[in-house]
């Protein structure tokens, strides 16, 4: 019963933690939106060629209510009564963006990509070299192809073994990594070799 309670509390804790994380991410985004970079809003007016004046694009950091031709187009290339005709042709649009969001997102993405690449290099190149040096040639042979045929009771062993507790943390990590590697190997066999799934 105690284990049930512990499991339940753990789950409740993880739910609350996840919701807290999600809400905080949202709040962070809103805050960064609010403390907007001054340069992240603009009013963009595109004015086509008119009489002798060539076409021009005007940008200005201005609020949405002031986003029209009269406020943005400076210096006005035409005089007097032509201003209205000129401004009728111009198209003004209010745009905003969040450069902080873009920067943070790209940096997060590149760091995750970099970590994955490092791990991939480690798994494919470094680890076999290390293993070969530590354990010699014999042990390498038996690790790979055992898992092919499912014996009837192998799955049961797996299920029951998960319920037992392991003492050492390092052992746990090693055990988890081994299990993950076996899973990926099975997946790779199904997808790439036997072409059974996802062909």
């Amino acid at each position: 019963m105690a284990s049930l309670w512990r499991g339940g509390l753990l789950r409740l804790g993880s739910v609350l933690g996840l919701s807290g994380l999600a809400l905080s991410v949202l709040l962070l985004v809103q805050l960064t939106d609010a403390a907007k970079n001054f340069e992240d809003v603009r009013c963009k007016c595109i004015c086509p060629p008119y009489k002798e004046n060539p076409g021009h694009i005007y940008n200005k950091n201005i609020s949405q209510k002031d986003c029209d031709c009269l406020h943005v187009v400076e210096p006005m290339p035409v005089r007097g009564p032509d201003v209205e005709a000129y401004c009728l042709r111009c198209e003004c649009k209010y745009e905003e963006r969040s450069s902080v969001t873009i920067k943070v997102t790209i940096i997060i993405y590149l760091s995750i990509l970099g970590l994955l690449l490092l791990y991939m290099v480690y798994l494919t190149l470094v680890e076999p070299i290390l293993k070969r040096r530590l354990f010699g040639h014999s042990q390498l042979l038996q690790s790979d192809d055992d898992v092919g045929d499912h014996q009837p009771f192998a799955n049961a062993h797996d299920v029951l073994a998960r319920s037992r507790s392991r003492a050492n943390v390092l052992n746990k990590v090693e055990y988890a990594q081994q299990r993950w590697k076996l899973q990926v190997q099975e997946q790779r066999k199904s997808v790439f070799d036997r072409h059974v799934v996802l062909s």
Binding site: V15, D33, N59, R97, V159, F192, L198
Partner: protein
């Protein structure tokens, strides 16, 4: 029937009279005599009171009996019982009844204490909280994917010196030096030739740019396929066929796991950025479903119950489409029409909520600025005319033809990949296709730009201030009215754009066939829409010029006078995109809703519907299945199609196993088998379940037990329970059978027995059997004759039978 007769004759039965046969059980005597229910029950269930008084006589030693008694009392479920093996089908009925039991228990307990009341309230809430979390995570991941993909796509062409994280558009956002003629250039954005050889003009610069473009494309593709191969092989492909199968009750362990999620997100960006002809909508559905599956682990209600989990996955799929297109309602309808198998009303509400939250999250991240959700949001509202229905239907026919052609060629190519040597070199295949795509794409500006940008430009209606080549019309008019421009003759730019677009069309049609299905995440919504949009725009510009130069013809006369804004080529592009997408995926309602959520133009529902219906009819006439069903059939998943009628007159006994020449059905008896017998059966056969009968002679059905549960329980009993050895009797009844003294203690396995297996008689028509399998989600169904167990029909047998009736190869159904 003949088999049964033969068996009876062999054992010397008399027809219709069993009383002469002497058996260890008195069942046969009881069968003919009416009103013997009481006698029958006494055989199996001795009332507990008598048991108590008999006490030590029936058990072997008091100590053991007390331990057995304790086991009965606690009935703690053994971990692993009730779970499923990989690549197996779940039992919908069992999962649903388990959920109802759990709900009932919580409701009953909630009256006891405050804590229990809170528990029951939180249990009811947990579904909505889960939807909220799924929406938040899907929206955030979609925002990450969008922003990263935009940046990396532009990375092939250059880099921003004012902050490397800006793509081309954002780099020039604040620049003062953008001119009217050359709106794309600004000094902050440097192309690779500018960085390497300090100039942007000349043949050498062009070659340098070309080379860098191909190099980056190859690098991205190589990284994508290596990451997929090393970390998560399940992350390749679109994901929608597999999700359809999972939602119909199949289990693919690891397909919706953490590593698959991470790798799919990262490699999707790489694949899209490498310039390949693929989209990200299908993979986004997979990403959203992974989020849903992972978040289910936080809630007990959904973690332990596979049927409830699939409700959540349906809602997650809706959230995925919602963020992919910015179309929440379209997402819900897509989940209903394409992806889900069972879609009760409760799932409708939950999907609605999840899609809403996801769209809201994406909007707050605001990847595109201006609070738009999707890149090709168009804003024109010019009306269409009745005679334009003819070209719209032509576009529909084109869409249907293209859809049928694409499905046929793509499936043929994927089959080649599956069966020949081509499948052994996935990395090389990806690199070669990327190289071909990049080399052919760079010279043509319409293939060089990303497909979403292309679609956005094609959907765009040309205004006076647009500077793209497609909008290079000659302006012969004097005044400019409010916003509407009349039809104008095409300038030189338009003609050259038409040529380039035709080449783009051919390239995209050909290369997408080879791209979809490679071992990287690939979707096909965007490429199909691109093909349709190009075809539509070409037709639209043609119509526009026709109307301008021949405005005195009969059809154009009434609507298209000179100076009127008659034809909108952008609308033709939209209709073409809808037609092609409908031809490939065979979506109807969800397609139209997605398209008009994308454009905001409610005026255009009728043309979109006309094109979608026409393309579906034409495509259905040429080939029965959509692309996802075709891939399901190619992979041999056990997916029972819910939309087709079974129209043959076969009976249940034509399909059931064992067939005429096969050995008899492997059954377990309710209380006369030893542990060793059961272990022998398990190791000698590969059946996933066994019926339990009263005795071999009577073959009267008690229930059904699954192989996995049996294995786990027997293993557990051997380890944990005292005294259980190979000769211990296993019983499935409520009380242990009377045992002589000095026999090893018995093992009760009643808690893993399904006491209500579904049965049909052997003369039931297969139409009804298939309907039962579909509607109830069965895995197996037992066949009886005159009340006795005759055989079994599994879902696999039903699928093979349907395939046989449709003259396909029944051996292509895998996953035995």
């Amino acid at each position: 029937m003949a088999m049964w007769q033969g068996a009876m004759d062999n054992r010397g039965f008399q027809q219709g009279s069993f009383s002469s046969f002497q058996s260890s059980s008195s069942d046969e005597d009881l069968m003919d005599i009416p009103g013997t229910a009481m006698d029958f029950s006494m055989r199996d269930d001795v009332p507990p009171l008598d048991r108590e008084m008999e006490g030590n006589k029936s058990y072997n030693g008091g100590g053991i009996s007390s331990s057995n008694r304790i086991m009965d009392f606690l009935e703690e479920p053994i971990p692993g019982v009730g779970t499923y093996d990989d690549f197996n089908t779940i039992d919908w009925v069992r999962e649903k009844s388990r959920d109802r039991d759990r709900h009932r228990e919580i409701t009953n307990k909630s009256k006891e204490s405050t804590w229990a009341l809170i528990h029951s309230v939180s249990d009811a809430f947990s579904g909505w909280l889960l939807m909220l979390l799924i929406g938040l995570f899907s929206g955030s991941l979609a925002g990450l994917i969008d922003i990263s993909a935009h940046w990396m796509t532009d990375l092939k062409e250059g880099i921003c010196t004012g902050g490397f994280w800006f793509n081309h558009e954002h780099c020039c956002w604040n620049s003062e030096h953008v001119t009217f003629e050359d709106r794309d250039k600004c000094p902050e954005w440097n192309s690779w030739s500018q960085l390497i050889i300090n100039t942007d003009q000349g043949a050498f610069a062009y070659i340098v740019n070309y080379f860098m473009y191909v190099l980056w494309a190859l690098l991205f593709a190589f990284l994508a396929v290596s990451l997929v191969k090393v970390f998560a092989p399940y992350a390749c492909g679109s994901g929608i066929p597999e999700i359809k199968t999972i939602l119909s009750g199949f289990i693919i362990r690891g397909y919706l796991g953490k590593w698959t999620l991470v790798i799919k997100t990262i490699t999707l960006v790489l694949a899209v950025s490498s310039g390949l002809s693929l989209g990200k909508e299908g993979p986004l559905v997979h990403v959203a479903c992974c989020c849903g599956n992972i978040l289910c682990h936080c809630f007990n209600k959904y973690r332990k119950n596979e049927a409830k989990r699939r409700e959540v996955l349906s809602a997650a799929a809706a959230a995925g489409v919602s963020v992919a297109f910015g179309a929440p309602i379209g997402g819900v309808l897509f989940s209903l029409e394409e992806v889900s198998y069972y879609f009760p009303l409760k799932t409708l509400w939950r999907s609605f909520f999840a899609a809403l939250v996801a769209a809201f999250t994406l909007r707050s991240i605001n990847p595109f600025g201006n609070s738009r959700l999707v890149l090709f949001y168009v804003e024109f509202h010019t009306p269409w005319h009745l005679f334009e229905l003819v070209p719209f239907i032509v576009l529909g026919i084109f869409g249907g033809l293209w859809g049928a052609l694409f499905i046929r060629t793509n499936i043929a190519w994927c089959r080649k990949r599956k069966t020949t040597q081509l499948g052994k070199y996935p990395v090389i295949e990806v690199l070669i296709v990327t190289a071909i795509t990049a080399i052919l794409a760079f010279p043509n500006e319409y293939t060089r730009m990303s497909t979403s940008e292309l679609i956005s430009e094609l959907f765009n209606d040309c205004g006076l201030l647009d500077s793209s080549k497609l909008c290079d019309y000659e302006n012969h008019f004097n005044t400019s009215k409010g916003g509407e421009l009349p039809d104008r003759p095409a300038g030189v730019g338009v003609y050259s754009a038409m040529w380039q677009l035709t080449l783009t069309l051919i390239l995209k049609i050909v290369i997408t066939i080879f791209t979809f299905g490679m071992k990287i995440p690939s979707g096909l919504f965007i490429p199909s829409m691109a093909v349709g949009a190009i075809a539509g725009r070409l037709l639209g510009v043609g119509m526009e010029q026709l109307a301008y130069y021949h405005h005195d013809w009969g059809i154009f006369n009434s609507w298209c006078s000179q100076g009127a804004d008659c034809i909108t080529p952008g609308l033709y592009a939209m209709v073409g995109a809808a037609a092609c997408l409908g031809g490939v995926t065979r979506m109807t309602v969800s397609l139209v809703v997605i398209m008009f959520e994308l454009t905001g133009g409610l005026e255009y529902i009728v043309p979109l519907m006309a094109a979608a219906m026409t393309s579906k009819w034409v495509a259905d006439a040429l080939g029965r299945e959509g692309i996802y069903d075709a891939h399901i059939r190619l992979n041999g998943y056990p997916f029972l199609e819910a939309k087709e009628e079974f129209a043959h007159k076969t009976l249940a006994m034509d399909v059931m196993k064992p067939r005429r020449n096969d050995p008899l059905l492997t059954v377990l008896t309710q209380d006369s088998m030893t542990v060793e017998d059961i272990e022998t059966i398990i190791s000698e056969t590969t059946y996933s379940g066994f019926p339990v009968v009263v005795s071999r002679e009577s073959q009267r059905l008690v229930g059904f037990v699954l192989r996995r549960d049996l294995i786990i329980s027997v293993e557990n009993a051997r380890k944990k329970q005292d005294g259980v050895v190979s000769t211990s009797i296993i019983y499935f009844t409520e009380h242990s059978p009377p045992m002589p003294p000095y026999t090893p203690p018995t093992l009760k396995l009643r808690n893993i027995l399904d006491l209500s297996p579904f049965t049909v008689t052997d003369l039931t028509p297969m139409e009804i059997v298939v309907d039962i399998f579909r509607k109830l989600g069965l895995r197996q169904c037992l066949v009886t004759h005159n009340g006795r167990l005759l055989g079994i029909i599994t879902k696999k047998d039903v699928l093979k039978h349907i395939a046989q009736m449709a003259n396909q190869d029944p051996d292509s159904i895998l996953f035995n």
